[in-house]
């Protein structure tokens, strides 16, 4: 099976506290640690597992600047066969539809049976997979937490729905799926693995390579654009316990006792 996985380089929220800069124009990016979007990493692991069982190849693709090459390389160290970077100043400031337009152009250059994205990334939009499927006229499923390959024409998938329940579907190939965390246990990538792929060439495709009209993507074409970042005025907010750690422990014990938190 030929599988394409769309990945994004994002600030790693497990490693960073995210705060707004003084003008509100952006988050503080000075000391941020970046990584591959967590959902995308599960998608790549799933693609590798499918390939190892059913044959074929895994390609990882990202829209971004030169820094995005590092996440492509990381996913290749995991086991993806090929990486492609989609990069052009014309792509900057794209909204979800613009990004999907760029990805669609790359997808149409190849022949893929399965196209995977993460369920969502840092902005929580969860939009690229659904848009891509609609643009490509392919069937789509979101929040996928199980994939079972039936034959070369269709697969069985589970979707995460409310209450811990799972919605099972059969879906024809080719199709687009957005992958939910927890579908597998992504393998660890060590320094040695990354060194192995350090010199593999990653092709860079721009607007003209892809046949994308620069006016149809980027900031000018974006129907949705961010104005500013802010931290909302807290409702009531928590009462923060003050003092040494021992004092906080004592205060909390008293509070828990009075609220029935200790039986």
């Amino acid at each position: 099976m030929e599988i394409l996985v769309c990945v994004k380089r994002v600030p790693d929220t497990a490693e960073n506290e995210i705060s707004v800069n003084s003008s509100g124009s952006d988050i503080e990016r000075g000391d941020l640690v970046y990584s591959v979007n967590e959902w995308d990493n599960y998608a790549v692991e799933e693609a590798i597992q499918i390939r190892d069982k059913s044959g074929g190849s895994v390609t990882v693709v990202s829209v971004g600047d030169a820094d995005s090459e590092e996440v492509l390389r990381r996913e290749m160290a995991m086991g993806a066969d090929k990486g492609i970077l989609l990069s052009d100043s014309a792509f900057e400031g794209s909204d979800g539809k613009g990004l999907a337009t760029v990805l669609k152009a790359e997808i149409e250059k190849g022949k893929y049976d399965l196209i995977l994205t993460g369920t969502q990334a840092d902005d929580g939009a969860g939009q690229i997979g659904g848009m891509l499927a609609a643009m490509l006229n392919l069937p789509y499923a979101s929040l996928v937490n199980r994939i079972e390959v039936l034959d070369g024409k269709k697969i069985k998938i589970g979707r995460e729905i409310a209450g811990g329940n799972q919605e099972m579907n059969e879906i024809d190939l080719p199709c687009v799926l957005s992958i939910q965390t927890g579908i597998n246990e992504p393998r660890y990538v060590g320094i040695r693995g990354i060194r192995k792929v350090a010199s593999v060439e990653i092709p860079v495709h721009g607007a003209s390579d892809l046949g994308v009209n620069p006016g149809s993507v980027g900031k000018a074409a974006a129907g949705v654009s961010r104005v500013d970042y802010f931290v909302p005025a807290l409702g009531k907010g928590a009462e923060l316990l003050e003092g040494s750690i021992e004092e906080k422990v004592e205060k909390l014990v008293e509070l828990l006792k009075s609220k029935g938190g200790i039986k």
């Binding site: 929220t13 497990a14 506290e17 995210i18 705060s19 707004v20 979800g96 539809k97 369920t119 840092d122 929580g124 939009a125 969860g126 939009q127 690229i128 659904g130 609609a134 392919l138 069937p139 789509y140 979101s142 069985k156 589970g158 729905i161 409310a162 209450g163 811990g164 329940n165 799972q166 919605e167 099972m168 579907n169 059969e170 879906i171 957005s178 965390t181 927890g182 949705v224 654009s225 500013d228 802010f230 931290v231 909302p232 409702g235 907010g237 928590a238 923060l240 316990l241 750690i245 906080k248 422990v249 909390l252 014990v253 509070l255 828990l256 609220k259 029935g260 938190g261 200790i262 039986k263």
Partner: protein, 325 residues
Amino acid sequence: MALQIYAYILHKDGAVDDTALEMVAAAGKLDPAASLTAIVVGSKTDAVCNSLTTSFKEIWKIDNDAFSYPNSEVIRGILARIIPKGSVVLVAHDHFGMDIAPGLSIKLGGTYLPDTVGFDGIEGGKLKAVRQEFGGQVSTHVLCDISGGAVITIRAGAFRAAEASGAGGAVVDKTADAIAGGLPGGARRFIEIVQAEVGDVDITKSEILVSVGRGIGEQENIEIIRELAKAVGGDVSCSRPIVDAKWLEKSRQVGTSGLTVKPKVYMALGISGSFQHLGGIKGSPFIVAVNKNPKAPIFQVAEIGVIEDLLEFVPLLTEKINEMK
């Protein structure tokens, strides 16, 4: 010019979902003069449609046995047929909305505004809206061009449900238009719902929950959570990353994709407090949050906050409680 807004209504077993009246409120905030139409897709939906007549001026009913389970591929296809281009469509941001909405925006040729928590007026064909990023750590204002129509998903609970207004709405049967030419979306076929596994402890009945999140760091550290739960006489629950890592069973996960709990006391330890997690906590418990990140959204909803590393704080707390006994 007043907007034409359509609200997709979620319903189950003949009952309308809470998000329906939240969308009435959202539509009113978007444009008080808007013409608002509810869309109900399903099988045997008369009761659902009739109950909406007090809140919507118009209800489109699309009723056929084929819709007894909502297959998003089918429903997206029929909505793209019957909703006029240029309209604003509201959908709840849940597992169904995430399935149909991005693609619907492409099919209708409008913009897509996902997981919206507030509206802040319209300026020159552009809607100013509020969203959150980074798991709720920061909010943003976004401008969304709605001049060519838009699909907007609304976060459950973000808009306070509107009161039934006695709208005296009329039910219009649109089934024939919707299914003319056959049903779309045959490439994805619903098979069945697999029910969640039942765990050894039913956390939905627990009065005290000691809940652990990503801040625990390592699997072996979960032992300190078990010890605290034992000391306070509560049960251990968790947020999604702990289940993803397979450190605790799915039957202990609190959240919209896990279980809905209603304890008296909820201790959130190393849990940042995403809206999906908070969506699983009902009944206004006394929430205590311990987190080393002062910006964690959990501090916005907790009664009591402790900014400490839980690995240090929790063993001290357990020790203190055990000493008292």
